[in-house]
């Protein structure tokens, strides 16, 4: 199954290699990984999206939790988490197709951040599914470059209260 693992770590050099090493060693495929500072500048949140056997994952999480720099590890449920990802996509355009691309961007609420004679660069943040839909619709025009941040996520407080 697919899991979103949220790891809080002390902001120390090398901590990322420690954490990632444990996943790769157990042949866990990391689909995306995003790290950034939290409300506390000494603490970093690493969000890892992985797919694999649930029992092995339980083991990997216990091993990660053992690392000295790791403060906590949690397995976020998709339906009880806010998930976001940012993508920057450069699409090939001609005079004829430019309007259509902008129209699609508008529907998705994507921003046009750059434009050249034969390209448009869009920026969109959203859930993975929304980004996938946008990419699917832009593909026929020709995507010349794309960068994605990988998913970040927080537990949904409102669903905890229920």
């Amino acid at each position: 199954m697919r899991h979103i693992i949220s790891v809080l770590v002390r902001n120390h050099p090398g901590v990322l290699s420690h954490v990632v090493g444990l996943f790769t060693r157990r042949s866990y495929n990391i689909e995306s990984l995003a790290a950034g500072v939290t409300e506390n500048p000494e603490i970093t949140r690493i969000t890892i999206v992985v797919t694999g056997d649930d029992r092995v994952l339980d083991q990997v999480m216990k091993q990660v939790n053992k690392l000295v720099d790791v403060l906590s590890v949690s397995d976020l449920k998709y339906d009880q988490a806010i998930t976001r990802e940012l993508a920057i996509i450069t699409v090939k355009t001609t005079l004829q197709t430019r309007g259509a691309v902008i129209e699609i961007a508008n529907v998705f609420g994507a921003k046009v951040v750059d434009m050249s004679e034969d390209t448009i660069t869009l920026e969109l943040s959203g859930t993975e599914r929304v980004l996938q839909n946008l990419v699917r619709l832009l593909k026929p025009f020709g995507i010349s470059e794309m960068a994605r941040t990988g998913m970040i996520a927080l537990a949904m407080k409102s669903s905890e209260e229920q």
């Binding site: 090398g14 420690h18 090493g21 216990k62 053992k66 000295v68 720099d69 790791v70 403060l71 906590s72």
Partner: protein
């Protein structure tokens, strides 16, 4: 007053009560070695960095204190890798210091530069690259704390040369800011698990305790284990790492279990209805095929490391903590009159013990390796510290040297490091100079760190090496004999040296023993001698370790010697 990093280093070692370190100098460690020149610390100069870390490891295992070793950058540091992995697999508190090129040269492929920080990530409990002298003291305090706390393990500190030479104001005594993790379970959950375990014990008719290295590491746990076993009349089997956790001469002892365990231990585990694992991690050399392991039993796991629970085998109940505390809690919690009767079970086990004792053939004029171990046991009254190498020598030592106290059987269990036993014996003897220390070795393993004879002789470390010399890499040969149609590919050690001359060349005593009659005399002579002794026992070249669980088999399905 300003102080250099090197001076702070030595002072911080002294603050941790370190009086012995094992090391090997080099260019980038010159500032520290200069500081050690007049420091009240005994530095044992080994002849290879691997010898230094195994010696520190052996020192730690017998003393329970942190073993400290040091090596220079680059090749010195990479020579520690096997020793770090050895200590990591067996949870040994070692702090290893490595020299490193100066911080401005890091990452430039400088002379003798290796990224030992990166290399050692998966084989240390924690590791550091210190880039600022102001952090040095704090890092060392953390390292000593981490090495010994919870589940012990090795910690590496990489020290660039300029960090050693920079002068800073006297650093304050650090306050540790290591993150503390919340408890693994709620108090209610803990209470529920404890009650469940006590009820499982009271209902069990065929219980077995399976004790591992965690019982050795937890000070006083062996007493708690004995108390529990005797009070509840539960037989105890130990792992290789757990040897000495329970007296092997005790009527409730089953000896070692697993691939080369006793038949009665493996039968007991296969037939038990409750298995209490304590400080053990269900290693594949213990369980055989995990799905067949203790399949009639409820399984209880007591361990300090929550990550071990459910790693290999799903358990029915568990508790997290020091082995001593948990065993005491169980011993206090049970009421002997409330227990189901174990009479039949104990009778069954006694029957197995009578039917399937450990045994070996005695051939006219040929030395059986098992006989050598038995004689070492006799002549040392079971009171020696035994270190082993890896392979047949290790298994025969485990089978025939019965241990009755902890920290007396020192062996590389997890990693299975050949060449471990001899330097570990040197470390052990330095930690416990009053005890006899024997390294039970093979002719293959001993040659992997044979250079440490110089260390032992020069430092007057009175260790004894018993080489069970069969001219083979015996355990691999045994597998080739049994599973590869006797095709002895690259396991015959042709070209072995004359070990007696080698010993003499280093200034140790060398003895060659070729007949069974000479065995006890040679051992007596070695014990009486006040210097390192190497005894070269020419043993039966194709003797095998039995019983044996074939790889991937169930542990009660064991191979034995074919009757001839």
């Amino acid at each position: 007053m300003k102080k250099t990093g090197a001076k702070i280093f030595v002072e911080t070692l002294l603050e941790h009560g370190v009086n012995t370190i094992f090391g090997y100098p080099g260019g980038v460690l010159l500032p520290i070695y200069d500081e050690l020149y007049h420091a009240p610390i005994r530095h044992i100069l080994t002849r290879h960095e691997q010898g230094a870390i195994h010696a520190a490891d052996g020192y730690a295992r017998v003393s329970g204190k942190v073993g400290v070793c040091m090596a220079t950058s680059g090749p010195g540091a990479t020579n520690l890798v096997t020793g770090l992995a050895t200590a990591f697999m067996d949870s040994v508190p070692v702090v290893a210091f490595t020299g490193q090129v100066s911080t401005h040269l890091l990452g430039n492929d400088s002379f003798q530069e290796a990224d030992i920080y990166g290399i050692s990530i998966p084989i240390t409990k924690y590791n550091y690259l210190v880039k600022d002298t102001a952090r040095l003291k704090e890092v060392m305090y953390e390292a000593f704390y981490l090495a010994t706390s919870g589940r012990p393990g090795p910690v590496l500190i990489d020290l660039p040369k300029d960090v050693q030479t920079t002068q800073i104001d006297e650093p304050k005594l650090p306050e540790l800011t290591l993150p503390l993790k919340g408890p693994h379970y709620t108090p209610e959950e803990r209470k529920r698990q404890l009650e469940l375990i006590l009820s499982l014990i009271s209902k069990a008719e065929r219980p077995v305790i399976y004790a591992g290295g965690g019982v050795i590491k937890s000070e006083g746990a062996e007493k708690a284990l004995r108390h529990l076993a005797e009070k509840a009349k539960i037989p105890v089997t130990t792992t290789l790492m757990g040897k000495g956790a329970f007296p092997e001469t005790h009527p409730l002892s089953l000896g070692m279990l697993g691939m080369h365990g006793t038949r009665y231990a493996n039968y007991a585990v296969a037939k038990c209805d409750l298995l209490i694992a304590v400080g053990a991690r269900f290693d594949d050399r213990v369980t055989g095929e995990p799905s067949t392991f203790a399949r009639e039993a409820k399984i209880v796991h007591l361990d300090i490391d929550p990550a071990e629970v459910g790693k290999i085998i799903q358990v029915d109940a568990y508790l997290i903590g020091q082995a001593k505390d948990l065993l005491q809690e169980l011993a206090e919690g049970i009421e002997p009159q409330g227990l189901a009767s174990h009479e039949e079970w104990l009778l069954q086990i006694d029957q197995w013990k009578r039917d399937f004792p450990l045994s070996y053939p005695k051939k006219e004029g040929v030395i059986s390796p098992q006989y050598v171990v038995e004689q070492i046991y006799e002549k040392t009254q079971g009171e020696a510290i035994i270190t082993t190498e890896v392979g047949q020598n290790q298994m025969w030592a485990a089978q025939y040297y019965k241990c009755s106290r902890p920290r007396s059987f020192i062996s590389s269990g997890g990693l299975g490091t050949m060449g471990y036993g001899f330097p570990a014996a040197i470390g052990a003897k330095i930690a416990c100079p009053d005890r006899i220390v024997f390294d039970i070795a093979g002719d293959g393993s001993f040659q992997m760190n044979i250079q440490e004879l110089a260390t032992a002789v020069y430092n007057k470390v009175n260790v004894k090496v018993a080489i069970l010399n069969n001219g083979f890499l015996g355990m691999v040969r045994q597998w080739q004999e049994l599973f590869y149609g006797r095709r002895y590919s690259q396991t015959r050690l042709s070209g072995n040296p004359d070990f007696v001359k080698i010993a003499e060349g280093y200034g140790a005593l060398g003895l060659r023993v070729e007949t069974p009659e000479e065995v006890p005399l040679a051992i007596e002579r070695a014990i009486a001698e006040d210097r390192p002794v190497v005894i070269d026992f020419h043993v039966d070249p194709e003797e095998n370790v039995y019983p044996m669980v074939p790889p991937g088999g169930a542990i009660n399905d064991m191979l034995d010697r074919k009757e001839k």
